[in-house]
Point group: C2
Chain length 100, copies 2
């Protein structure tokens, strides 16, 4: 592995940020899990296209303000949402006699 | 768009977490940008396979502790690293007479 004091310091910051990002994502999945259960309870459809459009617009705007590529932010949201859908499918598998 | 007071509250939390995640990612890209410049300055290779193996192992472990799928964490790292490479390629394009 490459070593250099300045490189090590920067890599330490990357590791700290990754730890924080993983924690926030874990919290985010806890909440989408609650949303999945709530929707099932209320008889709401799992997908809400209007909400998705709003979310994408908001994240693209945030990305621009943070000097990130808005395409990247949109692809990231899609990537995370695909995992959320996978979690929701697992909920359905665990309770096959109910609808989400 | 679906409305329900409890759903709105949970969605508000998702939006807050997404704002935080985008900010941390923006900070992470600022640091990988610095790493790219430092490697160029020091004449270090852009890729460091040993560091990547270490990072993947660390993130998979963190994911397990946070009750996330370690495969998801690994795919997420790959997704972010692909964007880092894109940024580094942009640095090369901006300074075509130097090597990264």
């Amino acid at each position: 592995m490459q070593t250099d004091p300045q490189l090590d310091r920067l890599r330490g910051s990357i590791d700290n940020l990754d730890t924080a990002i993983i924690s926030l994502l874990a919290e985010r999945f806890k909440i989408t899990q609650q949303i999945g259960l709530l929707k099932r309870e209320r008889g709401l459809a799992p997908a809400d296209p209007e909400r998705e459009v709003e979310q994408i617009g908001r994240l693209r705007q945030l990305a621009i303000q943070s000097n990130l590529d808005p395409e990247f932010a949109e692809k990231l949201l899609n990537f995370i949402v695909a995992e959320v859908v996978r979690h929701h499918e697992a909920i359905v598998r665990e309770a096959p006699d109910t609808t989400l």
